[in-house]
C-alpha cells in the first residue's frame, strides 16, 4: 500500500546499523601474531617510553634495528609521552597502554597483577638482576628496571670552583653556605635550580629518603609512624634543605617559568650552579655541556650534603621498570624486548647508570662518588602482605611523596608566596599522614 513505509523501516535499520558500525569501528592495529610456528617472537610490538629525547634523536630506532638483527620478525613501534606518568596513568583506565611500558609510580603493588604480566619468580630472577623488589608482589616480579639509579646533586664544577668551593659540603648548612658563595661570586648565576614548573624534577628530592639516617628500613618504618616530619627524620632534613635554599633566595627568581629542556644548557653554560637529580641525569647534562662547548668534565656529581659517621650514603634503586601489559596480544615479543633491552642494548651504560644486571660494569659517571667513598644504600622491600601499605597511606593521606605538588607547596611557602611557615607545613603533613594511616589501618 505504502511502499515507502517499508523503505523508511529499512532506513531505520540502516541508521542504527551504521551507529553500531561506527562504535564497533575497532581500534585497528591490535592484530598481531602471537609468535611464529617455532615459538620465536614475531608481530607488532608497541613500546611506550618516557625518553622522548631518545626518540627525537633516533637512538630508539637504532635499538629497534639491532633488536631486529636478533628477532627479524618483530615490528617494533615506539610511543614517547611527555607527561609520561600522567598520560600513562590515564591510559591505564583502558586496555590500551602498549605492549611494553615503564611501570608508573602511582600503581600500587597489589594492583600489579591487574595490569601486568608476571615476569617470573623474584628469587630466581635475582640471580641475574638487581633492584627488582620495588615492583614485586606475592613473590612475583612484575617489572625489570632498565637501569639502576643513585641519587645526588649534579653541579657545574667551574661555577663551584670560581666561587672558591673545593670540598663537597657535608652538612645542609655547609651546602647553603656554598650556594651563598656562588651567588656572591656572580649574582647572575642561579645557585640551585628547582625545575619547579615541570614538576617531576622536584620529585627527585624524594630519592634521598633513607640516606639521612642511613637506614634501609626507613620507608617501612615511615608506614608505621604518625609524624614522619619531625626533627632529625629524613623527610625533615630533606625538606628543610629545600625550604632553606628557596627561602634564602638561592634558587631561580620565578620558579613557575622554569623549563627542563632549557635547564640542561643553562647548567652546562654555568648559568645554573646545581640541580638535585638522580644519576640518570649526569649523562644528559654532560651531553649538554659537550654541545655548549664546555666539555663533559664541567659536570660533576655530589652526594646529598649529610654524613653518618663521616660517610656519605646514596640511595640506589631501579629507574623505570619495564613491564608487559596484561592485555598485550604479543607477550612473547614483549618479553624478548625486555630481556634484550636489559642485557644487549647497552642502555644502562649509555645513560651512565648502574647496570640492572648483577654483574654489570660500574659507569664512568659515578667516579665522583667512588672518589668520595660514597656508600650505596638499597632500601629493604616491604614485608610480605604489606607491599602496598606505604603506597596506600601515601595516596589516602594525599601527601603524595612522589608527586610534584608536595614539594611545589614547600617551594611556594618558602618564597613567601603562600603565607605558610615551614612548621605549619610539617605539622600539616604529619596530621595528614597520621589520618591516612588511620584510614588505611582501618
Amino acid at each position: 500500500m505504502f511502499p515507502h513505509a517499508r523503505r523508511t523501516r529499512l532506513l531505520a535499520v540502516a541508521a542504527i546499523a551504521s551507529t553500531v558500525a561506527l562504535t564497533a569501528a575497532c581500534s585497528g592495529g591490535g592484530e598481531s601474531a602471537e609468535a611464529n610456528e617455532d615459538g620465536t617472537p614475531s608481530g607488532d610490538l608497541l613500546v611506550l617510553t618516557w625518553r622522548t629525547d631518545l626518540l627525537e634523536d633516533g637512538t630508539f630506532d637504532e635499538y629497534a634495528e639491532r633488536f631486529n638483527e636478533e628477532y627479524p620478525d618483530v615490528d617494533v613501534e615506539f610511543e614517547g609521552l611527555t607527561d609520561y606518568e600522567g598520560e600513562v596513568r590515564t591510559r591505564m583506565n583502558t586496555d590500551d597502554y602498549g605492549d611494553v611500558l615503564g611501570v608508573v609510580g602511582t600503581v600500587t603493588p597489589d594492583q600489579f597483577p591487574d595490569f601486568f604480566e608476571p615476569l617470573g619468580d623474584v628469587e630466581e630472577l635475582e640471580t641475574e638482576y638487581r633492584f627488582l623488589r620495588d615492583k614485586t608482589f606475592d613473590g612475583q616480579a612484575y617489572g625489570i628496571p632498565v637501569v639502576g639509579n643513585t641519587q645526588g646533586i649534579v653541579y657545574n664544577k667551574t661555577v663551584w670552583e670560581d666561587a672558591g668551593i673545593t670540598e663537597p659540603p657535608t652538612t645542609p648548612e655547609d651546602f647553603v653556605d656554598a650556594l651563598k658563595a656562588i651567588k656572591e661570586n656572580d649574582p647572575e648565576v642561579v645557585p640551585l635550580y628547582t625545575n619547579y614548573k615541570d614538576g617531576w624534577p622536584l620529585t627527585q628530592w624524594e630519592g634521598h629518603r633513607g640516606e639521612i639516617t642511613a637506614n634501609p628500613d626507613y620507608v617501612n618504618e615511615m608506614a608505621q609512624s604518625d609524624a614522619p616530619w619531625t626533627e632529625g627524620t629524613d623527610h625533615y632534613v630533606i625538606d628543610s634543605l629545600l625550604w632553606d635554599v628557596v627561602n634564602q633566595g638561592l634558587t631561580e627568581e620565578d620558579p613557575t617559568t622554569t623549563n627542563w629542556e632549557e635547564s640542561k644548557s643553562l647548567l652546562a653554560n654555568g648559568r645554573i650552579g646545581s640541580m638535585v637529580l638522580g644519576s640518570w641525569a649526569i649523562q644528559q647534562m654532560q651531553a649538554a655541556a659537550e654541545d655548549a662547548g664546555t666539555g663533559a668534565d664541567t659536570i660533576g656529581y655530589l652526594p646529598f650534603p649529610h654524613q653518618v659517621d663521616g660517610t656519605f650514603y646514596a640511595a640506589v634503586g631501579g629507574d623505570y621498570n619495564l613491564a608487559i601489559n596484561k592485555n598485550s596480544e604479543n607477550k612473547v615479543a614483549a618479553r624478548a624486548w625486555i630481556d634484550w633491552f636489559n642485557t644487549e642494548s647497552g642502555y644502562a651504560e649509555a645513560n651512565g647508570g648502574l647496570s640492572p644486571l648483577k654483574e654489570g660494569p660500574t659507569p664512568d659517571t659515578l667516579k665522583d662518588f667512588e672518589a668520595l667513598g660514597v656508600e650505596y644504600l638499597e632500601l629493604t622491600p616491604a614485608p610480605a602482605g604489606k607491599e602496598s601499605l606505604f603506597a596506600d597511606i601515601d595516596a589516602e593521606s594525599e601527601v603524595g611523596t612522589n608527586t610534584p605538588d608536595y614539594r611545589q607547596r614547600i617551594v611556594d611557602a618558602a618564597r613567601g608566596a603562600s603565607g605558610e611557615t615551614k612548621d605549619q607545613i610539617f605539622d600539616d603533613l604529619n596530621s595528614e599522614w597520621a589520618a591516612g594511616r588511620a584510614a588505611v589501618e582501618g
Binding site: F2, P3, H4, A5, R7, T8, L11, L22, T23, A24, A25, C26, S27, G28, T52, D53, E56, E77, F78, E79, G80, L81, T82, D83, E87, T90, R91, N93, T94, D95, D96, D198, N259, W260, E261, E262, S265
Partner: protein, 273 residues
Amino acid sequence: MSYVAKTAKYATLVLACLVTLLPISVIVMASLKTNQEFFTTGPFDAPGNWFNLENYVTAFTRGKMVQGFANTAFILLFSVAGTILIGTMAAYAIDRFEFRLKKTVIALFLLATLVPGVTTQVATFQIVNNLGLYNTRWAAIALFMGTDIVSIYIFVQFLRGIPKELDEAATLDGANHLTIYRRIILPLLKPAIATVVIIKGIAVYNEFYTPFLYMPGRDLGVISTSLFRFKGPFGGQWEVIAAGVIIVLIPTLLAFLALQKYIYNGFTSGATK
C-alpha cells in the same frame, strides 16, 4: 559629536586593537628569529632576517604538524558531515511531525545543553573505552557528533521558517518522507547548514581536551595536541613554539577573512540558544 569625543573614541579603538594584536605580532617576530638571536634580543627587536623560515620547517617536520593537519581534517570532515546529517534529521522529525513522545524528546535535547561536556569527562571516558573507541579518531568524531545540541537548535529554528505546505505538496506527488527530507528539506536548509559547518568547523579545529584525553597515540595528534606537545621537546626553543603557534593561526585567519559575514551570523545564532 564633539571633536574631543571623536578623538577619544578612536583612541580607545586603536588601543583595543593594539592590545589584541601586540601579543600576536610579538610571536610572529619571535618565530622568525634564530635560536641565538632569540636569546640575545628582546621581544620587540625585529628579527635579523624577515624571511628566516627555519623554525617553520622545524615545527612542521619535527613537530608532526602535517600529521596534525591530516588528522584534524579527517575528524573535521566526519564530525561536520555527521553533525549535519544528525542535526537535520532530528530537526525534521521535531519540527514536521507530531508524535507521542515529542515533548519528552525536546526536553531531553534541551536538558542536554545544560551539561558542560568537560564535567562529565570522568564517566564519558569509561564509555568511550567500553565502546572500543579509545585511542582512535572515532572517539573524537563520536563525541563531536553526539553532543552537539546547538546545531539541532539552529536547524529547528530555520525549519520553522519554511512553510509546511511544501512538504504537503510533495506528499501529494507521491513522495515519501525520505524523499521529502532529501529533496526538499536539505536543499532549503542550505543557509543553516553553512552556519553549522562554520561553527562546528571552528569548534573542532580548536578543540583541545577531547583529542588530548582520547587520542594519546603517537600518530593521532591533531592540531591542538601537536602544538601542546611542543612544550616538551621544544620547551627551551621559544622560536619554534612561536612558529607552531603561527602555523595554527594561519588557517583560522584565512577562514575568517574569507567568511567574515557568515562567521558573525553563525556565532550570533549559535550562542543565543
